[in-house]
């Protein structure tokens, strides 16, 4: 059973590599933020799997909870920052679009 959880953790790590690839080569900034959000959520899960392997889940659960919370806060902050940046870019032009006036 420990071997199964070890294999599950390794497979999860290998499946996190495409998200890392999207962070590196993502076409837009928000693609990178989405991929980093996926990696952060999966890291919280991976911490629980590591705790299961070590037989000490009670310690790793708190790490995972803190990591998920920080990931959520960071993702929200990055999305707000990009939204504000995009609105500023829209206000650069002479024609104020409808979305820029709505926000």
């Amino acid at each position: 059973m420990h071997g199964f959880f070890m294999g599950a953790g390794i497979v999860m790590f290998l499946l996190m590599l495409p998200a890392l690839l999207l962070v590196v080569k993502g076409p837009t900034v928000i693609d990178r933020i989405v991929a980093a959000n996926v990696i952060g959520t999966k890291t919280a899960v991976l911490l629980i799997i590591i705790g299961t392997i070590y037989g000490n889940v009670g310690m790793f659960v708190d790490f995972a909870l803190a990591y998920a919370l920080l990931n959520f806060i960071g993702s929200l902050a990055a999305s707000r920052y990009c939204q504000k940046m995009s609105v500023d870019d829209q206000q650069l032009g002479s024609t104020a679009t409808k979305r820029a006036t709505r926000v």
């Binding site: 599950a8 499946l15 690839l21 837009t28 989405v34 991929a35 899960v45 959520f72 032009g93």
Partner: protein, 185 residues
């Protein structure tokens, strides 16, 4: 035997979570668009997280024994794992929605109809613009290949209207380059 049943249930939950995470990763790589990548990332990520955490919690529950003194600790750990699952179930769609709103306000192009959206907005908001009618795509230009669309986009960017174009390169350029900010009149 209930312990074997719990093990089998845990293995099934973790395996299905890995399958859903595989779908999320393949969707992140293969989908052509920001919005569709967002779709794959949000749903697959949330569901696979919930499934794998439920599997780990059930596996942790099989160490539960009433005669043992640490039964309450195991219950507490399982409740914490479920609390993380509920927390991620609440926060992952929230962050997905916030990022999608940011991308929509950024006016990122959709995969199929980028040229229509890119051309339509200046025609809507500045109808007195003289350069607008020849920039509208003719139907044969709609049916043309992607290189032709890219050529019209580059022509449009060369004609000085690049601040309203939602081309990928223009978006990348606008995010990388710090242009001086003018006040909105």
């Amino acid at each position: 035997m209930p312990i074997d049943l719990l093990d089998i249930l845990s293995i099934l939950l973790v395996l299905s979570g890995l399958v859903f995470f595989l779908g999320a990763s393949v969707g992140l790589l293969r989908f052509p668009d920001f919005y569709t990548r967002m779709h794959a990332a949000g749903k697959g990520d949330t569901l696979s997280t919930l499934l794998i955490m439920a599997g780990a919690g059930i596996y942790e529950l099989h160490r539960f024994d009433l005669d043992d003194g640490g039964a309450l600790g195991i219950i507490l750990v399982v409740v914490k794992i479920l609390a993380i699952g509920v927390f991620i179930m609440l926060t992952s769609p929230t962050s997905t929605h916030a990022l999608m709103q940011a991308g929509y306000d950024d006016q990122l192009e959709r995969a199929g109809e980028s040229s229509e959206v890119r051309i339509e907005l200046p025609a809507l908001h500045t109808p007195a613009d003289a350069g607008t009618p020849e920039e509208l795509p003719s139907p044969d230009e709609d049916a043309a290949s992607k290189s032709a669309m890219k050529k019209t986009a580059s022509k449009k960017a060369a004609s000085g209207k690049s601040e309203t174009s939602k081309d990928k390169t223009a978006a990348k350029k606008s995010t990388s380059k710090q242009s001086p900010r003018r006040k909105k009149d």
